[in-house]
């Protein structure tokens, strides 16, 4: 089989740098790490210098992930030889036992590390992982709570605890963990968005309000977060339906909020815009995005040729001769699947589907969020 350096035409330095990048970003692309790392170790060990030890560790963990016990054993032996009596190497030995499902032996290994050094967080976390692997979620949660009482600032642990609670459907406690994370990481849009999802799942008017606010906050931090965008739309819709008298006005507000969603899909799906003869089914619907098309309609960004989306289209298609554009809003014989939230007999839902075309371009995303800013509680 061809080596990695041959297949991708890379030098050993590039391979080493790639491994470093994966290590620093904490990627879990174990198969790639094993391929690249194994070749580096076998062919270029002498050139790596002291880097080789950390590469052995990285490759060993990736090898355990891919069930490559032979490679993992080799790496472990090298590390044991170089660092006899090291706690870090002991932990790796424990991880190998875990991979072989010898949980008792692995647990003993971690206990011996903790005897020598009770503050060793890695060993404690591995013990909790053993409980998780054995399916003992309740015990894992209990142990993790005890761990967090001592090590309150460990964000990885808080996140893990929130995942465990979500799997147990204990949404209140999961929300608490995510609140801790948001306090220490106010600029992380992913935590905001996850918190909003948990609140949405909990349901109830108050939780939906909170959910809407935090989806909006996540969007403010990263306006390309699709989950937050959809979540915001859905939370708004649920609130509209839940409040006392859904009126046409509310339907309009919802549609207006949904326009950025359409806008994003339009900008990001240039491949949909092919000449009608090529890609369309019988009903004139684009088979990829299921939006109805009408040719020769003014484009979303007519008159805004500097718009990035339009540029992408033009570059991709060499001018817009024969290119049709998504018509904004539902067309007579189609409905946009993105916004089909109509429930049986729901007046708001049906209103959404029958709204007329907006004659003015949709408000840009920042404007949308400013509108909600007054609702957004500071974190």
């Amino acid at each position: 089989m061809a080596s990695v350096s041959e297949m991708y035409d890379v030098t050993w330095e590039e391979m080493r740098d790639k491994l470093r990048k994966w290590r620093e970003d904490n990627h879990r692309n174990s198969e790639q790490i094993v391929d690249v790392g194994e070749e580096l170790i076998n062919e270029h060990a002498s050139k790596l210098g002291d880097d080789i030890w950390i590469i052995y560790e990285q490759v060993m963990i990736a090898a355990l992930d891919c069930s490559r016990d032979d490679l993992a054993w080799t790496c472990l032996q090298e590390l044991k030889r170089q660092f006899p009596g090291s706690q870090r190497v002991k932990r790796l030995a424990g991880m190998r036992l875990e991979a072989l499902e010898k949980y008792e032996d692995a647990s003993k290994q971690y206990d011996s590390i903790l005897q020598d050094d009770p503050t060793n967080t890695a060993a404690r976390k591995r013990k909790i992982s053993i409980l998780k692997a054995q399916g003992k979620s309740a015990e894992a949660i209990r142990e993790l709570n005890e761990y967090l009482e001592q090590f309150v600032g460990d964000q990885e642990a808080w996140h893990e605890l929130s995942e465990l609670y979500i799997n147990e459907h204990d949404y209140g406690k999961a929300a608490f963990c995510l609140e801790e994370l948001m306090m220490t990481n106010p600029h992380n849009h992913l935590y905001c968005e996850q918190y909003a999802e948990v609140k949405y799942t909990q349901g109830g008017l108050e939780n939906l309000e909170l959910s809407r606010k935090y989806f909006a906050q996540a969007l403010k931090l990263n306006n390309r977060n699709m989950r937050a965008l959809f979540g915001l739309y859905m939370a708004c819709y649920c609130l509209c339906v839940a409040t006392i008298e859904p009126s046409f006005q509310k339907g309009q507000v919802n549609a207006w909020k949904s326009l950025p969603l359409q806008g994003l899909y339009f900008v990001s799906k240039p491949h949909c815009c092919q000449p009608q003869s090529e890609r369309h089914g019988e009903k004139g619907q684009c088979e990829v995005c299921y939006l109805g098309h009408q040719s020769n309609q003014p484009s979303l960004s007519a008159g805004r040729s500097r718009d990035k989306g339009e540029q992408m289209l033009r570059e991709g298609r060499g001018g817009d001769a024969g290119v049709h554009h998504h018509v904004l809003g539902p067309t007579p014989n189609s409905y946009t699947p993105l916004f089909y939230m109509a429930q049986q007999g729901s007046s708001v839902g049906s209103m959404l589907c029958n709204l007329p075309l907006q004659t003015r371009p949709p408000p840009p995303l920042p404007l949308l969020l400013d509108d909600l800013k007054q609702d957004c509680s500071p974190i």
Partner: protein
């Protein structure tokens, strides 16, 4: 109850979904393009999530979108599949039961399919799936003799071939679609590849190889 037939396409995509995310729980929907009544024939599947399965918003979104797509393509949602992250435990989780209940409200013969991770090896003799059906508001194990998977050997070969060639990374589930919305969650490209591999010419080549 009724018979259930699982098509090659549906099985291969489910299997690849599980293989693509070996450390996460994954789930998805089973679709049928045959009319209601009689045996349920699962012709396709849509992989949904690989993270935070018990959270509502994205599940709701995915279900709605698939529902609409099915209405447009004359398909119906007839079942739900899930593979748990914990390989030793393949019993349906509460969220699996909830979603399956919702599907059963719309479709009488809905099935709940759990993929048995411990049995997912390249040369396993029987498909690593456990099927449940709804009897009197409870989900009970389905009689194995009412589950059909035509041409199991060929299906298994197709799945293995796609795994070996790395094509399982072509699979797009709804979660991946949300990470990059240019990716197609209906997996038309992968469907075409599987159809090509399942064509009679290819099948003959394998059968001759298997017999050797």
């Amino acid at each position: 109850m009724g018979e259930v037939e699982l098509s090659c396409l549906a099985y291969v995509k489910m299997y690849l979904h599980g293989c693509l995310f070996p450390r996460c729980s994954v789930n998805g929907l089973l679709l049928s393009s045959s009319p209601a009544g009689g045996a349920v024939c699962v012709t396709d599947c849509v992989p949904l999530l690989h993270s935070h399965l018990p959270l509502a918003p994205i599940t709701q979104l995915g279900l709605t979108q698939v529902d609409v797509w099915c209405a447009q393509t004359q398909q119906r949602i007839v079942g739900y599949y899930q593979a748990n992250a914990c390989v030793s435990d393949n019993s349906p989780t509460p969220c699996a039961l909830k979603i399956a209940d919702k599907i059963a409200e719309q479709c009488n013969n809905a099935v709940l399919l759990m993929i048995d991770g411990g049995k997912m090896s390249p040369d396993y003799r029987v498909p690593p799936i456990v099927m449940y059906e709804r009897k009197d508001t409870r989900w009970t194990l389905k009689d194995k003799h009412t589950i059909m998977l035509r041409q199991w050997e060929e299906t298994r070969e197709i799945a293995n071939q796609l795994l070996d060639s790395g094509d399982h990374s072509l699979l797009v589930d709804f979660d991946s679609h949300l990470d990059d919305i240019t990716r197609d969650w209906t997996n038309q490209k992968l469907n075409a590849k599987i159809a090509e591999l399942a064509s009679p010419a290819n099948v003959c080549t394998w059968m001759s190889r298997v017999e050797k």
